[in-house]
């Protein structure tokens, strides 16, 4: 029972990591779509998910002059540590493009120190309109908005540029065109004029948001999978080794009845399989528990239940368990029947 739970923990570990990775990426994709933009322009050399590179704000004006472009909004993303960032926006431009914020508390920026928080961040940090919050610099929470648009924290663009010594710098330029049919034409034109800059359609950008785009996340997932195999191996190894010792006499009885080493091995392997299956089921069930825990305690990191990973996580548990059962199984199958029968 305890062994099955321990195997379950490794399955949960994998499913939680994958679930959080995909949840966070899905959140980024949803927020990007929430901008209402058709095209994104990023600085040269920037990676897909690192929004904090800078480019001259003059790009915004240049893009605005393009045929078929109806709206342009430059944003500055400022990292403030702990994976958090504040996005500087021109609220008028951004609201026009995205359809505007839906305020749950408070209202738009009134001063340079004003900050808007999305409901998830506000709830996670127990912040309300009117509060002051220390995020490296002091900010006044002007409002709490419905989540799903661009970011979790917003500040006036100019104010953010000023506070972080990034005058006339923006990180991402969001572009809206008059007709979706013209998106590619605008992209081609921008590519021609802004050599080396990254210009994506929103659909293309969203399609690039995956674990494969973040090498460190992929490596981290591989490390966790490796750890899970080792944990499964150790749990089953210890459990089966103990079982073999405890059942020395029973193994002797089976051998006296004519059980071959393969028969004895197959019994242990069947038990291991049952243990791994029970552990996998327990792990899958426990992943719903971790999803709930993440939702309550770390709501800014949404976790998805990724069904496609259930068989993989179960297979990883099974492989670790099977490896762990090999040595005890061999020990059992090679046991001398006479010695085993004399064992008390």
């Amino acid at each position: 029972m305890l062994s099955a739970v321990a195997i379950g923990v490794q399955v949960t570990m994998i499913l939680t990591l994958v679930g959080v990775s995909q949840g966070v990426l899905a959140d980024i994709a949803r927020n990007s779509r929430g901008t209402g933009a058709d095209i994104l322009v990023r600085p040269p050399g920037s990676s897909v998910l690192a929004f904090s590179g800078d480019m001259p704000q003059g790009i915004v004006g240049l893009v605005r002059k393009e045929p078929h472009v109806t709206m342009v909004s430059g944003t500055k993303v400022q990292s403030i540590g702990n994976f958090d960032s504040i996005t500087g926006i021109n609220i008028g431009e951004f609201s026009a493009m995205s359809g505007g914020f839906r305020f749950l508390e408070g209202g738009p920026f009134q001063g340079p120190d004003d900050l808007l928080l999305d409901e998830v961040y506000a709830k996670a940090h127990k912040l309300h309109a009117g509060n002051t919050v220390e995020l490296g610099l002091k900010w006044h929470v002007a409002g709490v908005v419905e989540s799903g648009k661009l970011s979790r924290m917003f500040a006036p663009l100019e104010s953010l540029q000023e506070k972080y010594s990034a005058r006339e710098k923006v990180s991402v330029v969001y572009v809206k065109v008059d007709d979706p049919k013209n998106v590619q034409a605008v992209i081609d034109s921008l590519h021609a004029k802004l050599e080396d800059y990254k210009v994506f359609s929103l659909d293309e950008f969203v399609s690039l948001i995956s674990v494969d785009s973040i090498p460190i996340l992929k490596r981290f997932t591989n490390v966790v999978v490796g750890l899970a195999v080792i944990v499964g191996f150790l749990v089953v190894f210890l459990s089966m080794y103990t079982a073999v010792l405890e059942r020395t006499r029973e193994i002797g009885i089976l051998k006296a009845l004519g059980a071959s080493p393969g028969y004895v091995m197959s019994i242990l392997m069947r038990e291991t399989l049952a243990l791994a299956v029970a552990g996998a089921i327990a792990g899958i069930l426990m992943s719903y528990g971790t999803q709930w825990i993440m939702k309550v305690f770390v709501p800014t990191m949404p976790m998805l239940i990724v069904h496609a990973w259930w068989p993989w996580a179960s297979l990883i548990a099974l492989v670790g368990s099977a490896l762990g059962a090999v040595y005890p199984g061999m020990k059992a199958s090679r046991q001398d029947a006479i010695e085993a029968l004399a064992y008390d």
């Binding site: 006499r249 029973e250 002797g252 009885i253 089976l254 051998k255 006296a256 009845l257 004519g258 059980a259 071959s260 028969y263 029947a337 006479i338 029968l341």
Partner: protein, 220 residues
């Protein structure tokens, strides 16, 4: 049926050679019930272990149903235990997590036979008085009942010989008499060849003949 000539078995214990059997000669006919008696260390158990294919002989010849045990591989001795030999132990040696019935059918499973009891074996179960006790786990059975389950398990695959090692050693007089009576019944009714180790002269008297062992040899 069983023909043993100049059988020797030497164990290596540390740096010392222990001569457990020093030239045993014995012949057992099909359908015989032979009691083997002798003091501790006389080689009775070693003889049983060799006849049961649990350990190989060092030298000499041992034929069971025409098969020579000398030079048999581990796999061949496993096959011998599976098909030709049934064991009954002093401590019953039932698997504690299985019911009486499963303890019997696992022997069929190991032998690769279909699990289930034919009418003849059902009759034997009746003779052993186990019909109403088959679904009980060993812990719910008395010592006598457990030993009867062990006998049923030993003969379910119709082995050529049944080796019983002190089958009444853990039983009271009443149960001992019952088990010995059953062994004699099986011998009489089914013609089952039985070799039984015992310290008890009364138990030994149930056999057709008594073989005495001492210091690794048959002395009478």
């Amino acid at each position: 049926m069983i023909e043993i000539q100049n059988l020797k078995k030497t164990y290596r214990v540390g740096d010392v050679d222990v001569h457990a059997l020093r030239g045993v000669n014995l012949k057992v006919e099909r359908g015989e019930f032979v009691s083997i008696v002798g003091p501790s260390g006389s080689g009775k158990s070693t003889l049983f272990h060799i006849l049961g294919g649990l350990t190989p002989p060092t030298s000499g010849t041992v034929h069971i149903d025409g098969r020579d045990l000398l030079g048999m591989t581990d796999a061949e001795r496993t096959d011998l235990r599976k098909k030709s030999v049934g064991f009954v132990f002093q401590k019953y040696n039932l698997l504690p997590t299985l019911s009486a019935q499963d303890n019997i059918t696992i022997a069929q499973d190991i032998a690769g036979r279909p699990q289930g009891f034919d009418p003849q074996f059902e009759e034997i179960l009746g003779l052993l008085g186990l019909k109403g006790r088959l679904h009980h786990k060993p812990r719910a059975l008395s010592g006598g009942e457990q030993q009867r389950v062990a006998i049923a398990r030993a003969i379910v695959n119709h082995p050529a010989i049944l080796l019983a090692d002190e089958p009444t050693g853990n039983l009271d007089t009443q149960n001992s008499d019952a088990v010995l009576g059953l062994l004699r019944d099986l011998n009489t009714r089914l013609g089952q060849t039985i070799l039984m180790i015992t310290h008890n002269p009364e138990a030994a008297a149930y056999g057709h003949r008594i073989v005495k062992m001492r210091d690794g040899r048959v002395v009478e």
